[in-house]
Symmetry: D2
Subunit: 449 residues, 4 copies
């Protein structure tokens, strides 16, 4: 991921230093487990741990360079690391990596890195939820027009709109927890995963210490259906980001102006057009969603490795693991900040509700007429006639409001009273279920938040 | 593809009758070529042609049933067809399919069907181009606001907007011609494509008669990079449909109302809300674009068949070949009709240009100030100040237009005259390149169209 | 989905009859709930239920034709159905669909259809698991070569190979249960989901009766992140099918011949080459996996509907809902049958293990040498030398086995005894963890199965 | 793209230095064009060119830091660059960027970078073609078994196999030329592309100098269907790489061993198993193909920008433009090297042809019998019987070859003579069309190459 979309905490997870730290941890734990099983001298295991810890604690650019230097020779990353480690540990290093394959270290390390990345993402979603919750409660009863097909339908509450996205991100949080469990497994099973040279208890020990579960059947590699499910989950979350970003882009349109991304003092929307204030954050999120989503397909194609394993997944994962998690981390935090600072214009929302001369109440008027005994087909014809007339005359001097057209309609006269029409055209009608839904989403205790 | 999105002409191309007609044609042509080469008695070839033609000409449901019946036994579609054909032709049928493999027939037939489908699609694009050209010329100088980021930028011409889409569909037409050439090849090369049992001149003969080129190396199958390129082209065209559909959806938004899909007398936008007129055609096109686009990935995954061939591509193509071409045919014709009948509201376009109090001219005012010697940084600050003030006061009783704010600005006073501001705020400025671009797109002779 | 890949049970779920049955059920339940709330006369609700049930029970082609006829007029599927229903129910039909939108019916019906489809798929996976379990236990200790990169690595058990796929399909079963919960929600919330004209208790009632949960915030539509997650799950399962299909394709290769799809008496592998027996089922599964996987992207693109809803998702779902579930149902059952009848050749597996002259034991020999005190680097060099020599001489008259090369190597002489080499080259070493892993996968009680 | 898969020449194209070099070139050319049109003092334009050239020629890390410093303030990359440039040029800098928008610079620069990248890729494909051509001619008549479904079919030539891939990469070369033309356009059209503040002749001038064509309708951005078509082409090429890589992976399988990636002296295939030589290059290429292919979908999703432009495509392109071209450059050159050094084992190819006891000649035997007057159905039954018997007895002491089974078959006796069977089982039969096809692919003059 380009630096522009990279936050330091996520970068650190995918940095070589962290990888080497985890590699050492896996090797040290395996060594300890072997010592407990009597396969390695206890003193040697302690020495590996002590000297290795010290080497990792003082890890510097010089160590990175040294490892790169060895890798340039051996063309094998794990062997390069082990050689460097041996230089630090001394003779006891011969008890390191005993019977393990490189994949044991690589795949278990990837599991640790992905769980670390996921923990960060889970926190990010919490930030999004906080921002959405804030807006949901601030605008619990803020009337706004609901739109289907981009066309004004009936009024709703802006808070409910936010609550709907909140509910989606709650689902995303739950999905990500499930996805985390998918990839949190450990493999210390040796060549083609038969434990021919390794006691399975070593794997159990390492797994427990790393907060992972042993992989039931690793065949030198952890099966890639797990990673496919993980990246699909990121794709779903990214699509949820896109939905909310699209909403904000719509709300900020010049003709709508119901909400706006925060615009910093001194910010320039365009070098050529000084009047511009653009929803650039939400547009950026739309693009990032496309990027994250695109990682699902290669992750799915990685599943069908040949026989016990091939290495075709490796080049894919070297890219999509850091890229997708980094982009999602950035996107979620950008979204959280954007929604937290979103500038909302309730007055413009009311103005927009009213901008079509009241036709948005056509549904309730239709029901009122049918309740008054008019046949549904007739009622529809009458109300549509009045609504279309209103629509056509919008903005014209001679234009009449929907109510005026209804009042003047001969077929309505005498059917329903003025107070019925008043009630039918009261936007507050559309807020009646807000409390009920907030209870469902935020729980009882949160209603006063 | 579900019947809802299927037009008869495309359905006919993918119908079993057409497939059997083409299969027979391939077999008959191969037989004729063998007769010319002296490998088959001339009389036999003539008989095959004559009786086969008659059988195909009188092809009925009974024939379909008979072929299905045989296939239920043999589990092989080509063998079932050949058996049926033998029943029609009699003893000379032993000169049919001599040395051919099923794939020779299947892949060459697919090439013919795809070229037929493509010819239909090319005609469809012509219809789209016609509709776009009509709107482009009707609204060549119709002013409308140009929008970047969904925010009013500067005026442009609605015709130019249409011309831009016209240019894209011209590109799509060209791409589809290229894609047609990609898949218009013929393979009559036998098992694993070695011509061990077939003279290559048979392939040349059949290819020429069918309007195809011989495939240089078919390995029992025509290589699938051709089909991948073809489906990618459909995906690009579908995305162009989505771009135009998205434009219409935006233009029809309740707050924009600059254009609208034609709404039939008696049409109902919503059963519950009589006032609704929704851009359902363009929304439908957006969904169809997603469907068509999704066929690109499996087509690309089909390329890496194992060795000389495997059959994994078959189940994919049985679906995506009819589905993607059928959906695209439907979508293009729906688009053509929609654009042809699009209701355009030039008055609302002007109203929208003016709705932001004139700030859309900030760019030209900025240039005017710099031309008058004001430092660009200062000019930007001044113009942004006036624009933001206008923006903030929009719709308020005390609100001032951009021009009023400029006129009242002490830093502008004396710098530029009133007539300079008049010129800077004249939307017609933005029409100056329309002629130039129309020449580039439609050619000289079309300027008066 | 083309008929070729459609099983009757899944076809029935997506047939119009089932859709109308569910539509009626939703309407009848909503009517009953309104009756309980006193909004509709109790007798009317009973009448709707009684006459409606009768109409659905006797539903025939004539009814289908009648509905199609009405839809051709009204261009609205739900209105067409309601009109037909009114004809069957009579005057009480005015209490049907009161305050509901079409989307309430459509989205809730889709939830029911998808849960029905998913229940079928869950059963299908059980069949796959049964077949895999059978092979796993039949071949628990059947030695076969483990392959990494397509190259012989070390022996493993064919049963463990099967157990690994069993574990993956257990995960797929669990994922599908989660996906089922994702889409099993109900929306009876009216225009833009505000319950303005509907008591939320109606939704709760309908949901409970249909085995669904109420959707917290439906905005006329059920949010599409649910469906995106669902289709991504199908894509993961499809990829698991592809992995197993790829394994079988490899095993059946002419050069490997360790297992084979069942070949029926009388079956023809090729019309031109009578000797052929091709793994056509597993190749077909590979293609179907591509198809199913391709549905994930449009489902993800469907998430970002505009505002409260647009209808772009509809054309996508009309295709991918039946297509992906139908293809997956077919693929799973084909896989189950294929694995159940898979012909396994343990003798050929042994022959293949031995075909490289024993070099597959190089890893254990390496360990034996290091255990005997040889430096790892030296040991590697020695063993690699012997292995490469063996490899090069394979099939040559003067060729020596790996063991012969080791025995003749001067650097090994005296380092390790013959019995150590015997042990190192005993394939049974690689079966030592099989019991442990079977316990983990199949549980204690299943070990004797 | 991670450094591991990045070659220096491609990295240089996407480096900031190159971007700034191109940005300056665009600005300098636009300034020159304005000077020619009399809109800018001629001396000023010369000064801009002279001082700018010098600044670019001496561009160093300090300049990069300075630009980053300004961007940190202004949050706008083009403004940061222009400010830096102004510091270098002095007062005449006010004639730079006159009437241009940032997009004019950005999109035209992207066109230049993509053409540079494409030129590199075209050269890479030439290297692949060279390697394939070499193998094709070296093994023009090298017999090898053709495989359909992974099962031995009939013999073919290894050279023809290579020639087939050569033909595919010729097509890829042609496609990439077309794709290059797609994206080689220039936009200097100002806000929303109306040329309100810019003479179209400026665009023509800049385009000509940069080797680009003017974009007919740029709407501040160059339309993204061009880039979508471009990335789809990369996806098709990547899939072709995967096909060839898959072939090599198959050929190197332990059971096949017909060809092998070059294995360096001293190379280690596995740290744990000294005998391993793995096709890691072709597996790596398989993964890279997945990565490159995955860029097609977001590029297609980028097409439907809103109205005249939004900025959602930007974050996508910042990643996929360098990533996809870099990965493809690396993959093509890796492929070229791999194919050039591919170790081919003709002896093993013959051994494999013979390994099934001669059944691979069943097709020609079948034809021979039918030519001798046996009914096709009978001939098939007889030949299949002999082939299956051979197959079943493979490797068994009592096993008979296909020929022996044919000779012993009572239904064959007397039907065809021994010399007919000799001819039918001569693999050289399958080389008869090689010359013909080589002429078609490589041309007449190349036949002796």
């Amino acid at each position: 991921m380009v630096p522009r979309y990279t936050r330091p905490a996520m970068m650190a997870i995918w940095a070589p230093e962290n990888r080497y730290r985890i590699w050492f941890e896996i090797e040290a734990l395996a060594c300890e487990a072997m010592a407990e099983l009597g396969e390695v001298p206890s003193e040697a295991a302690k020495n590996v741990r002590k000297r290795g810890n010290a080497a990792i604690a003082s890890f510097s650019q010089a160590d990175l360079d040294r490892i790169d230097e060895i890798e340039a020779e051996t063309r094998h990353d794990v062997i390069a690391f082990l050689t460097w480690l041996a230089e630090k540990i001394g003779p006891d290093s011969r008890f390191v990596h005993l019977g393990l394959t490189s994949s044991d270290v690589l795949d278990t390390c990837l599991a640790v890195q992905l769980t670390q990345a996921t923990d960060l993402l889970l926190t990010d979603i919490k930030s999004v939820l906080e921002a959405l919750r804030k807006q949901a409660f601030e605008h619990k009863y803020t009337l706004t027009i609901g739109r289907s097909h981009g066309i004004h339908a009936e009024p709703t509450s802006f808070g409910l709109k936010m609550a709907g996205h909140y509910a989606e991100f709650e689902r995303n949080h739950m999905r990500l927890l499930t996805a985390r469990a998918e990839i949190a497994t450990c493999a210390i099973s040796g060549a083609v995963g038969t434990f021919a040279h390794l006691d399975p208890r070593i794997e159990s020990y390492v797994a427990a210490k790393l907060g992972l579960r042993p992989e039931p059947v690793s065949t030198q590699v952890i099966p890639r259906d797990r990673h496919a499910a993980y990246f699909c989950t990121l794709a779903v979350i990214a699509s949820g980001i896109e939905r909310l970003a699209t909403e904000v882009r719509h709300l900020q349109r010049s003709e709508v102006r119901e909400a706006e991304e925060f615009f910093h003092a001194g910010q320039k929307g365009s070098s050529a057009m000084p009047h511009k204030r653009n929803p650039v954050l939400s547009e950026n999120l739309t693009g990032l969603a496309r990027l994250i989503r695109s990682c699902a397909i290669p992750a799915l194609e990685n599943v069908a490795l040949w026989h016990e394993r091939d290495i075709s997944h490796s080049s894919v994962e070297r890219n999509i693991c850091p890229d997708a998690t980094t982009a999602l981390d950035f996107a979620l935090m950008r979204l959280a900040g954007m929604m937290d600072k979103l500038v909302v214009y309730p007055g413009q929302m009311i103005a927009n509700i009213e901008s079509l001369g009241g036709v948005v109440h056509s549904g309730e008027v239709l029901l009122a007429l049918t309740r008054a005994g008019v046949l549904r087909e007739d009622a529809y014809r009458i109300v549509q006639r009045c609504a279309m007339a209103t629509w056509t005359q919008l903005g014209k001097p001679e234009g009449r409001t929907f109510r005026e057209n209804l009042d003047a309609d001969p077929e309505i006269a005498g059917k329903i009273g003025s107070e019925v029409l008043d009630a039918a055209m009261d936007s507050r009608l559309h807020l009646r279920a807000v409390d009920d839904r907030y209870r469902m989403i935020f729980g009882e205790t949160n209603l006063t938040a």
